[in-house]
């Protein structure tokens, strides 16, 4: 087990190195729109240097004049020493912006994960126990509709009905207009109120796959021999399903939930952007389209680390939950 984890971590580091190299090269190959725009802006000031001169100077300042491989090594050195650089767009250290924005993303992700589990697991089990019934068809169809819904379209529909027609929520933002005048409890409620629609979007879009996963696993368990044995013993159907079958369904569920824990930090790029929630996803979307290399590099590396961590966690959890599995 320990050897397995160490080996996996070492492989992950190698993979991460390649991933960062690819991302770095990709970003550097693109026209550095941020520097270009800034040079353009600076050169229009009265008595300023020409555009070319500014550009050369800015490229030197931001370290874009070095060869790519050297630049990557430099970035890697800084990254390993914990220096993530300064964000160009936000003009603060990347880590500071990250700390400001990660909280709301994490809370949004956590609440929606809990809600998803509360909805998906019972429904998945009901659908599996009553396979091919009308209820099963209904639940499966609803799950597939959730998977097929485009996030942006669903979010717009929610906004149209709940914000525009009913006027219950604001269409954008995390805080209301009078946020600063509220007391601490009022501020909390205001933020919670603004998070209702984004969380509803996230839950409905992603609840479907978890529901189907539960159903598939439950079906597999229900077809197993030990369930037949339990029934043959004359146990009640309740006991068969909730004692014998459900516990075994939990194995893959715990694995997949564990694997999705790192993902809570990655933010919901599209949803946050649509609702203008200043989380990590929205912030990095803004950074990406304005060509902010340090922030983008950091965010992409962060996402890659989260993915690797999720994979590793899922393997480990699988061995922990199911004693039959041995990692080697």
């Amino acid at each position: 087990m320990r050897n397995f984890v160490i080996k996996r971590i070492l492989i992950s580091i190698v993979i991460l190195l390649f991933v960062t190299l690819i991302i770095y090269v990709l970003i550097r190959c693109l026209p550095a729109s941020y520097v270009d725009n800034m040079a353009m802006q600076l050169s229009t000031a009265p008595g300023a240097k020409s555009y070319e001169e500014w550009r050369a100077q800015l490229n030197a300042v931001y370290g874009l004049d070095k060869p790519m491989l050297l630049g990557w090594l430099n970035w890697l050195k800084e990254f390993c020493t914990g220096n993530l650089g300064d964000s160009w767009k936000y003009t603060v250290p990347v880590i500071e912006k990250f700390k400001d924005t990660i909280g709301v993303s994490f809370i949004m992700g956590l609440i929606s994960l809990i809600l998803e589990l509360l909805i998906a697991v019972p429904l998945g089990i009901v659908a599996a126990t009553k396979q091919y019934s009308r209820l099963d068809y209904g639940i499966s169809a609803a799950a597939l509709v959730g998977i097929s819904l485009p996030t942006f379209f669903f979010a717009s529909l929610l906004k149209l009905f709940f914000s525009v027609h009913l006027g219950w929520f604001d269409t954008h933002g995390l805080v209301g207009r009078n946020f600063t005048q509220l007391d601490a409890w009022g501020q909390f409620l205001d933020m919670a109120h603004h998070l209702v629609l984004p969380i509803a979007t996230l839950v409905i879009i992603s609840v479907g796959s978890l529901m189907r996963y539960t159903r598939t696993n439950m079906l597999e368990v229900l077809n197993a021999d030990y369930i037949r044995t339990a029934r043959a013993k004359g146990l009640s159907e309740r006991r068969v399903i909730y004692h014998h079958a459900f516990r075994n369904t939990l194995i893959p569920l715990v694995t997949i939930v564990g694997a999705s824990l790192p993902g809570l930090f990655s933010g919901a790029l599209i949803t946050e952007t649509l609702f203008a929630i200043p989380g990590i996803g929205y912030t990095s979307y803004q950074a990406m389209i304005s060509g902010d290399i340090p922030f983008t590099m950091f965010y992409m590396t962060f996402l890659a680390i989260l993915t690797l961590a999720g994979n590793l966690l899922s393997d480990i959890l699988y061995a922990v939950v199911d004693p039959r599995v041995r990692l080697s």
Partner: protein, 517 residues
């Protein structure tokens, strides 16, 4: 489950146990088809897909409009035609060769307000004569130097400008209610009831308290128009119809009159017909779903958008499957270091966050101003290139278990070449899973493309795609007022993706031999 017993057969004829007709034997393919057809959701999904394909590919052929054809419409815009003010302040006019500047004017007003008849400015002494009706003559040393008035004397269209003496005489006549007057060196004039000034029966000028200013360049306001307008204003009307005397029969222009009490100005507005793009036109017979912000028919855009979305989906999935099968097949068959290498590449691809990459590349293509058509090509290549690892992983997993089976030993024993062994004997066994994975993949590729287009980073104008049609919703005015712009596109997208998912799900169940149906 595959057998359907037909006992006893019609006609009472008994089949013997070894009769072929006793059992109906179905091939595996037929079995799969039968299981698929029994799945109600899959059939619903199939119908949805057929509808969307017909809508996109055949509908685009049938509809008479082009993808980027713009429509125009006439709208009435209220333009201010003339502004009318009532002259309520004194105006001054100095006699020819004399001066009466603003300082003596001020002295004059001071004098009138205090009731004096004389005032002086610098060395000059002035005497004013109140002629009545807000009309004053100003004398200096016995000479008439200027006059102050509220009623204004206008020269008729096409007539020589009236001199100071004539104007003075006319105003004096108006004030005293005379109908004829004479001016020095200009002969005699008559003043009729409509305040027209006539000389020898010809109208040369008129007196009016209204100032009418044209608000449009190059438009001369005729006397006739002014008179009618003044009548309408006096009557307090808000609508004014005017037929020009020389206009063809029945050509009447309508004007609406608004009064601004603060500025004391009447605005006379004319509704002018303007030829514009039919922006956000409501659904009508010609355009069942209205028109979008650039005046294009929404239904046509939806059809062409469907083509783009579906074609992109298919091409991307083909790229994914080809790359995935080749890489996965090689990896699974050879094993060893080749497998290790390819799987590490797959791991790296899994690790690259694809949405951010697509956003960055989209933004870069924006700044490079890539041609929309070439951009679409890049988009397909990119999506395909980022999507193959999952296919490769699946293919490898299947082949790893298949290659240990006896039929593979047989192919080796018969001396078949390696490519033939992989692609002729191993890959066909993976095809069921491939079909399932690519059907589901089609749905998710279409969603990804729509999301990118929605963000403005995928398919670009003038090409339509469901995603970029919906992106109009970012304009909150469109979101709240023009449902027909974005809701139909979203529904099309939902139906298509749902159709692929239903069918994919049905296929997976149908291909699964463990399923008991």
């Amino acid at each position: 489950m595959s057998e359907e017993k037909k006992l006893p057969a019609e006609g009472g004829e008994e089949y013997s146990l070894n009769d072929d007709r006793r059992v109906r034997v179905l091939s595996p393919g037929r079995l799969v088809l039968q299981r698929f057809l029994r799945n109600r959701l899959a059939i619903v999904g199939m119908v949805m897909l057929i509808v969307m394909f017909v809508f996109s590919f055949i509908g685009g052929l049938l509809i008479p409009y082009g993808q980027a054809e713009q429509f125009y419409t006439y709208t009435y815009m209220n333009k201010e035609y003339v502004g009318v003010t009532r002259n309520d302040s004194l105006r001054f006019l100095a006699a020819e060769g004399r001066e009466f500047g603003s300082l003596p004017q001020a002295q004059f007003i001071l004098a009138t307000e205090t009731g004096k008849t004389e005032f002086s400015y610098k060395e000059a002494d002035y005497r004013l004569a109140d002629e009545g009706n807000d009309f004053y003559s100003i004398y200096s040393g016995g000479d008439l130097v200027a006059m102050a008035f509220k009623d204004i004397v206008y020269t008729s269209d096409g007539m020589p400008e009236l001199g100071f003496a004539v104007k003075h005489a006319a105003l004096k006549a108006l004030a005293s209610g005379e109908s004829a007057f004479s001016a020095p060196d200009a002969g005699t004039y008559t003043l009729d009831g409509d305040h027209n000034i006539l000389k020898d029966g010809v109208e040369v000028g008129y007196i009016s308290r209204f100032v009418v200013q044209s608000k449009e360049n190059g438009v001369v306001i005729t006397r006739d128009f002014k008179e009618r307008l003044e009548d309408a204003l006096d009557a307090g009307e808000t609508v004014f119809a005017y037929t020009a005397p020389d206009a063809p029969e029945g050509e009447t222009n309508e004007y609406s009159i608004t009064y601004d009490a603060g500025a004391q100005v009447w605005s006379v507005n004319q509704a002018t017909k303007t030829y514009v793009y039919d922006m956000y036109g409501r659904p009508s017979a010609a355009h069942p779903l209205g028109t979008d912000g650039t005046g294009m028919d929404m239904l046509t855009r939806l059809m062409y958008g469907g083509r783009v979305s579906l074609v992109i989906g298919f091409i991307v999935v083909i790229i994914e499957v080809v790359l995935g099968v080749v890489m996965g097949g090689i990896s699974g068959y050879f094993g060893g270091w080749v497998d290790n290498l390819i799987m590490r590449i797959v791991d790296i691809f899994y690790c690259i966050p694809s949405t951010p990459i697509l956003i960055i590349l989209g933004a870069a293509m924006d700044s490079l101003q890539v041609d929309p058509q070439i951009r679409m090509l890049y988009l397909m290549l990119l999506l395909g290139f980022l999507g193959w690892p999952s296919v490769a992983r699946m293919v490898r997993g299947q082949i790893l278990s298949l290659r240990e089976q006896e039929f593979m030993t047989a192919t080796e024993a018969t001396g078949l070449r390696v490519p033939r062994r992989i692609f002729k004997h191993l890959v066909p066994n993976v095809i069921p899973q491939l079909i399932v994975i690519s059907t589901m993949g089609l749905g998710s590729v279409i969603l990804t493309e729509a999301t990118l287009s929605f963000l403005g980073l995928g398919v670009k104008f003038p090409f339509a795609s469901w995603g970029n049609i919906i992106s109009d919703v970012n304009n909150s005015f469109v979101m709240t007022n023009y449902w027909f712009i974005w809701i139909p596109a979203g529904i099309c997208l939902l139906i298509t993706v749902l159709g692929f998912n239903f069918v994919g799900d049905g296929l997976r169940d149908a291909f699964d031999p463990k399923m008991k149906r």
